[in-house]
Amino acid sequence: MAILSINGKRYELDLPDNMPLLWVLRDYLKLTGTKYGCGIGQCGACTIHLEGEPMRSCTLPISALEGKKITTIEHYADKKVLHPVQKAWIEEDVAQCGYCQSGQIMGAIALLDKKGRPNDEDIYNAMSGHLCRCGTYLRIKKAIKTAAQNG
């Protein structure tokens, strides 16, 4: 039995210890905003925050997460006001298919939490683990800067 704290809620889960958080979120908790893209930490689609740090949920077994604060995109979706990063994503018309974007947004929020005014190099370092097959990178870069200005 693992006890997890996700978006401020407590979940008691009787699931295998080595089950990655990604699949608990998606297949059991209906928190499907977090996406599966590769399962090996290469694409960033499954990014969540663990104690505020961006992490790939596809490689995080639930046994390692007890007592830690987990935040998913749904945390930002359920708020009344949009996060500046979400606002900037809409303003800059970033998304195409959108499938990678929950992960990108979670990566960007974590970056801006640490660095209020990231330069290009900061953005590359933080976001290079996030693939986008539709090719929205330039707008992602722009939206992060817009969010930094407005946030």
């Binding site: 979940y11 008691e12 905003g33 996406k35 949009l82 994503w89 998304a95 499938y99 097959r133 090719g135």
Partner: protein, 722 residues
């Protein structure tokens, strides 16, 4: 208790309601009936209810290319409704309603639907205006529609559409259906943000991979690693020990059909589980014996040999344009080159998946497909149930790029659901999508030119993919040209084919735009000016194939994009140290795109600094989305130019996941500037026209930088060293 939670019991505290596991997600596109309302559906695109709800039923698939947004803008403008008030649903596959026009490919969605959708919306608007005219006893000419209401000109009198339905539903369409003038558009031509943008920013856009039905099980399939191989036997004892695995069953393949969008499911072994992860883990634990079949020893080098042989024996001319043959008898010199491009895979970020519920007499499907109508037809053939018994819900998908036009991944879910008699979701692991997929074919394209004694070109000769007699050949130049019969592999495909963003235009564009550059160099001319001159010598090229190729090819349109890109990118002006430019021009269907790449090559490493692109796509419905598509196309093409290849050894694909099929990343992404030609022509496509031109623009810049002609992508470092 349902077997989904037979083994693992899940307790949730802090959330009310214990039915979480079994509750179904409301499928996108599902509209609930409200009996007491008047519910008017004047055509298949629009539905208006007496509570003023206006629903737009989008016939085309949305996979990130933005077509649904563009269509909604057209609908809102022509109907006279507020875009943000339109409720948006995706129409399930229906040939009766939309014919195969519903199936979305070839960058055709907006182009094909622009006129019919405007007419449908305008007809509805005119009926509503007529209804108001009758109600108020006023002449129609005094009334107009705006913001979901009919209004009287020059007065405060207005009435919402919903209150006109009682009258409107009994009126027939007027004979005159005026379409709005461009100056009356509120949305068309604006960079409107779509409803989808917000849903995505919230992580709430529902994809088929997110669907969960009551009683649904999760399946993963280990497909035969070699195309045309078959299953001999398997040992599932380890797989069954994995917690959550319910069953392991053999999976029969399906025959590839004459139309290769259908069939071609690889035989394999399916692991059925309580969650996706258990299915994936179970799959890894299988021990399978395959008969690897006729491709077991093959690789690309065999294909290359086959193509070379067919080229040598290929004397059939399918089309002699402007006396290409005669030009060769006059030539003093022959220049030859061949261009090689590898297998590629779409690698859509949302892995292929489908949910099917086959209950014996009816099949319900949820899948982000590009071809909902074709899918329905195929599933009807496969199950021997009438099309009316098949419902294909078509939520947005996480990228299609051609791959989701193929039906095999839906066939798998239907086959399993039929066998298991319950809803099944089949999810492809990333490894499945890289290693056992359908692929953009490996190609070699052969070009030669006859030159006069001054090295000026007289004509071209081509052996390659774009040569079918009577087929589509988007050739823009005024130079005579011999098209030889299409080159095919003698022994069939080593890997099954999928469409891959821009399809055969990619190898065609690679060869043509590199070879034209080589000719310019031989002739001692500037490559941009050389192209402009050849376009001036050309006439309108007949290529119209309704409805899929919308119009003939107008060389002057291409010329305009080329002139413009030259100006915008500062062609011929001095650049920073080490930075060189390469150019390409390309006509794709009814769109035109020219590009200039700014490139440096340092120690054999190619760096693309900037790409400037100009597109003529007719009327740009949503300029922000047009630019977005061009940016995405360039980034797509750069992955193929600089990084990715699918390689085959002993019949099996060597690449497995993103660590060895690594797409372009944000750090590698050049600056991209996109300009749109101002045009009042009907809109044409934007999802693909920029793909074929980027590799040649980069390769031509590499030549400018190094004097080396690279004729194979992705560019290999070694080829540029020494």
């Amino acid at each position: 208790m349902d077997s989904i939670n037979r083994r693992h019991f899940l307790k949730i505290s802090g959330i009310s309601g214990g039915g979480l596991l079994l509750s179904a997600m409301i499928p996108f596109g599902c509209v609930t009936e409200e009996k007491e309302l008047i519910d008017w559906e004047p055509n298949f695109f629009i539905r208006i209810q007496s509570d003023n709800q206006i629903t737009f039923s989008c016939s085309q698939s949305e996979m990130g290319q933005g077509t649904s947004t563009g269509l909604a803008m057209i609908m809102a403008d022509e109907l006279g409704a507020k875009l943000e008030d339109l409720k948006f649903v995706f129409a399930p596959g229906s040939e009766e309603k939309f014919q195969h026009l519903q199936d979305t490919g070839g960058s055709n969605g907006l182009r094909m639907m622009y006129q019919p959708l405007r007419e449908a919306a305008a007809t509805t608007r005119e009926i509503l205006i007529e209804a108001a005219a009758q109600k108020w006893g006023l002449p129609k000419s005094n009334l107009y529609a705006e913001d979901g209401m009919v209004k009287e000109k020059g007065s405060d009198r207005l009435i919402p559409f919903g209150e006109l339905l009682e009258v409107a539903q009994n009126l027939s369409a007027p004979s005159e259906i005026p379409l709005k003038d461009k100056s009356d558009f509120k949305y068309i031509g604006q960079s409107v943000r779509s409803q989808k943008s917000k849903q995505i920013a919230l992580g709430r856009l529902p994809y088929s991979i997110d669907v969960k039905l009551p009683g649904m099980v999760y399946a993963a399939i280990q497909r035969c690693p070699v195309w045309k191989g078959s299953l001999i036997s398997f040992d599932d004892s380890e797989a069954r020990k994995i917690p959550g695995v319910i069953d392991v069953i053999a999976m029969e393949g399906t025959e590839l059909q004459a139309m290769d969008y259908k069939g071609g499911v690889r035989p394999g072994v399916a692991v059925i589980a309580e969650n996706t992860w258990a299915a994936f883990e179970g799959k890894k634990a299988l021990n399978i014996e395959w008969n690897l079949g006729p491709n077991a020893q093959k690789s690309e080098s065999d294909l290359k040999k086959e193509l070379e042989e067919s080229k040598t024996n290929n004397s059939i001319v399918s089309f002699d344009f402007k006396e290409g043959q005669a030009s060769f008898s006059k030539g003093k010199k022959i220049l030859e080159a061949s261009y090689e491009s590898p297998f590629q895979v779409n690698a859509c970020m949302e892995p292929l998946n489908a949910v099917a519920d086959h209950n014996g007499y009816k099949v319900e499907i949820w899948s982000g497909t590009q071809a909902p109508s074709l899918t329905r037809e195929r599933i009807s053939e496969l199950t021997k149930l009438p099309p009316a018994a098949i419902t294909v819900h078509n939520p947005p998908s996480g990228g299609g790029f051609g791959r989701r036009f193929f039906v095999d991944f839906v066939e798998e879910a239907v086959i399993l659901s039929r066998q298991l008699k319950r809803p099944v979701k089949v999810t492809w692991s990333r490894e499945d999508t890289i290693a056992t997929n359908k692929y953009h074919p490996y190609r070699v394209e052969y070009w030669s030119a006859a030159l006069d004694s001054e090295n000026q070109p007289l004509g071209l000769s081509y052996h390659g993919v774009v040569s079918r007699p009577g087929g589509y050949r988007p050739y823009p130049y005024g130079l005579p040209m011999i098209f030889h019969n299409r080159l095919d592999y003698k022994e069939g495909n080593l890997l099954p084919r999928a469409s891959w963003r821009s399809v055969f235009a990619h190898p065609w564009g690679l060869g043509m735009e590199c070879f034209i550059d080589e000719l310019a160099f031989e002739a001692g001319q500037d490559p941009l000016q050389f192209r402009l001159d050849l376009l001036d010598k050309s006439e309108v090229f007949l290529q119209k194939r309704l409805p899929y190729v919308g119009d003939d090819l107008y060389p002057q349109k291409l010329k305009r994009t080329l002139e413009m890109v030259g100006e915008k990118a500062g062609w011929g002006k001095s650049k920073e140290d080490n930075v060189y430019q390469g150019v390409s021009a390309f006509a794709y269907n009814t769109s035109y795109c020219s590009q200039i790449a700014d490139v440096s090559v340092v120690e054999g490493k190619v760096k693309v600094h900037k790409v400037t692109a100009v597109i003529d796509c007719g009327l740009a419905i949503n300029p922000s989305q047009v630019k977005s598509q061009v940016e995405g196309s360039i980034i797509w093409g750069l992955s193929a130019t600089l990084k990715d290849a699918i390689q085959v050894s002993n019949g099996a694909v060597l690449q497995k996941n993103f660590h060895d099929y690594d797409l372009l990343r944000i750090r590698e992404c050049p600056e991209i500037e996109v300009f749109i030609v101002d045009s009042d022509d009907p809109p044409s496509g934007t999802g693909e026209p920029a793909v074929p031109g980027i590799a040649p623009a980069v390769l031509n810049a590499v030549f400018a930088a190094t004097g080396k002609r690279i004729r194979k992508i992705p560019i290999a470092n070694e080829d540029l060293l020494g």
